[in-house]
């Protein structure tokens, strides 16, 4: 077992700056994950993403798909006993990716029927969350 924890203070600080959250506030109760309607789609669910950030595991956080299934529904924000604004942390993780110009949504890949059918705000919202 690898017992060496790789803390990366610059990464932690960056996430804290973008989200304006104190990452050590989370005491890992798991309530956010328990109530997240989309946790079943996430390889790494919200509380675990937060744990990775606490430990400064930048690569693990970058690989995690969890933040990309977050619908910013804010259920977890309402329920966290420590007052952590989890969706702000999920956004910070996405934003770090996107600011490196790695947008994950390509208009060409969106189903054409959906493009014609869905309300503009669905498309705009998805682009604002998943592109640079």
């Amino acid at each position: 077992m690898n017992t060496k924890v790789l803390t990366n203070p610059r990464f932690i600080k960056k996430i804290e700056e973008i989200s304006e959250q104190k990452i050590s506030d989370c005491y890992q109760c798991g309530r956010c994950t328990a109530g997240c309607p989309f946790a079943r789609y996430m390889d790494v669910p919200p509380s675990q993403v937060i744990r990775f950030i606490q430990l400064g595991l930048k690569d693990e956080v970058e690989k995690a798909q969890g933040p990309w299934f977050c619908a910013a529904c804010l259920v977890c924000q309402t329920r966290c006993p420590r007052g952590v604004d989890i969706p702000r942390l999920m956004e910070a993780v996405r934003v770090l990716h996107l600011r490196a110009k790695e947008g994950l949504l390509d208009v060409e890949t969106i189903n054409k029927d959906l493009l014609m059918d869905a309300p503009p705000l669905a498309i705009m919202s998805a682009f604002s969350k998943f592109t640079y």
Binding site: I18, F69, A71, A72, L74, A92, P119, P120, A122
Partner: protein, 287 residues
Amino acid sequence: MKIPYYPGCTLYTKAKPLNDSLHASFRQLGVELNELAHWYCCGTTFTLARDNRMSLIAPVRILAKAQEEGDQLIVPCSVCYNTLKRANYILKEDTETLDIINEHLEESYNVKEEVVHPIEFLVKNEQLVKDNIKKNLAGMKLGCYYGCLLLRPQEELQFDDPESPSIFENLVRLLGATPVDFPLKVECCGSYLVVNSPDAAVEASYKLLRNARGNGAEALVTSCPLCHYNLDALQAKMKQAHSDFQELPVFYFSQLLAIALGVEENYVGLEQNKVSPKTVLKEHNLL
């Protein structure tokens, strides 16, 4: 009475029935929804990165226009409501950001505008609604679907209790219908995930509809065009994925308001609902 009104982009296109039925209903109540002369997209879903000030510019410009017209702005789309109200809240606290944005704009926002949802207005003016009801919705069992954006974050929106809200039910009762409680009324429908992970939205919305029907709802009511799309238009996909699925019509609250107030049918826009609500309306002699 004239009140400033912000429709937002989607109410001019996919959610036209929400716009039309709301205008007509308010007219019936003697209230003119006075659409802002110049307005822009609010930017849709609120940006959660605190270091991104750009995303606050669109809301500030809208609110600055609104302040010239009156101190309250009526906003029916849940997404716009959430974005404008959150921006307002943040700029009240963060005067540094407000100053920076004001400095760069022609207009200058005084952070005094109050963003009001029509449901809030209607419940507050209960008597006005009661006095104008022409067709009571008696007997209709309705699931009030709040979704996320009217309720959360509660500190900023102050719309209602985020876990156990009741304002929407109060409106439905006002129209004579019977609200049906269902636990998933505050859960997410899948929102914009429909664009890149459509299955997640289909499944989340399927669960919601089943939950509402299981608790006795004959139809669902919402105020959000994105929720409406997921809950209404995706029902065809739910049917493919789940053999037990039974359709449930989904109304905009304003469509039911319009029916209760006896507004002409062409303003109600029922043809635009993918799952036709006509059967349930006929059953209750409302059509």
